[in-house]
Symmetry: C2
């Protein structure tokens, strides 16, 4: 029997943290309550500034140290491995600040890296695909965060600046952004249209590189391409870290 | 600005804890991540024995003290008010043991009582209805937990023993119970049929007195009667406790 407790830094936004928590449950083999894995979800939304605003220079405070503070609180509460339910929190300027702060406090908790896990997942489950499209926040876009998939032998295809502006609205618009009003059709339509532009650029799959997108768009395929949901990937990595024998097997035909 | 942190004892089962967490978000007025309320979800599924098995004498250990242990861990992590994402945990033999353990440790965290909140909710939002049907676990059923709604001037209508047996299967059956395989149509059909028997007994609404039911049945009405979802009610009570100004208003026509 393995032991350990999963910790989730939520609140970025709150729905994404809950979605990650839910996917940990759905990706665990369990026939009763008692067979599920222990997990802690810490959501302090007002504490953590917007990641994209920091990357774009609209906020001066790096949200990294406060995110690290939540990781430290998770460790104090017993968590042994942690995941951040936000792609943009992995942008090097932020993730580096998180790691520095954790090191400064001598943290022993293992912090997984969502984008690195996405790279492994694609190589394992879509071995025939080398050209991958990415949809994310504007912070993720301008920082080139997903270029690190090249370390996994993948070619990354991005949307145009104009399409990126529409994705930004789908996440943040005060009247129809997912963070403002929750899942809605207008946001879904923008995501579908953006994925179409990736297919036109010969992407073989579409990475949802923002944890808000799977809240609104729930199908496993988009415009005929497989969706790789970064939240699902991180959930599976967290389950595997605690107990690989409990990881829900993915069906055939995924490739 | 109000302060305080919501704590959730999840894991009973894990899906119900996540559902409560999600409803706290949906019942909060917020236009950005940062406007949402802080919350902690602690899910230790293997730690806490099944509540109904204890009430039926199939397990000897009262799960109350271990549930209290999670409440204490929530308090230690900063939570100021807590809710238990499980109706059966409020059965007096269990809830009393929780309170005893909290008192013994001098806990200062406020623990809300889900069924008490359901009573208040019905009086506030369905003032014209006095006869209420209840669907719950067999532990809730045999303990008469929901009879405490009579303190709120309500008459409680229960299902027959035979219907109760079918509800038990909808929750626990190894092949089609919600706890075993998640939401599914067979479980939904059982819930609908059980609600029909409550309508036949002239109930004016149906209380989902088990936090597994709303995972499978998501409509706000059942067989023409309003559903009162105990998870939603507890979520609203937790939001109100932290900041009443942020409580999402319920639309008209609820009564």
């Amino acid at each position: 029997v393995k032991s350990g407790i999963i910790g989730i830094v939520g609140g970025m936004g709150p729905g994404a943290g809950i979605d990650l928590s839910s996917k940990i449950v759905s990706q665990t083999l369990a026939a009763s309550d008692q067979e599920h894995l222990p997990q802690l979800l810490f959501s302090f939304p007002s504490l953590i500034g917007d990641r994209t605003r920091f990357v774009l220079g609209q906020d001066s405070e790096n949200p990294g140290p406060r995110i690290a503070g939540v990781v430290l609180r998770l460790e104090q509460a017993g968590a042994t491995v942690a995941g951040l339910a936000c792609n943009s929190a992995h942008i090097p300027a932020i993730f580096g600040a998180i790691q520095d702060e954790l090191n400064r406090h001598g943290a022993r908790i293992r912090l997984l890296h969502m984008i690195d896990e996405v790279g492994r997942f694609i190589r394992e489950h879509h071995p025939g695909i080398s050209r991958v499209g990415v949809l994310g926040t504007t912070g993720t876009y301008v920082s080139g965060l997903y270029d690190m998939l090249e370390d996994h032998g993948l070619n990354v295809v991005n949307v145009s600046e104009r399409t990126q502006a529409s994705l930004h609205s789908a996440i943040y618009h005060p009247e129809w952004g997912i963070k403002s009003v929750g899942p809605n059709q207008r946001a879904v339509d923008v995501i579908i249209k953006a994925a179409d532009t990736l297919r036109a650029k010969r992407a073989g799959l579409v990475v949802f590189g923002c944890t808000e997108f799977p809240l609104a768009y729930r199908d496993p395929a988009i415009g005929g391409l497989p969706v790789v949901d970064s939240s699902l990937v991180l959930a599976r990595a967290l389950v595997r870290h605690i107990d690989p024998a409990k990881l829900y097997p993915l069906g055939p035909g995924l490739d």
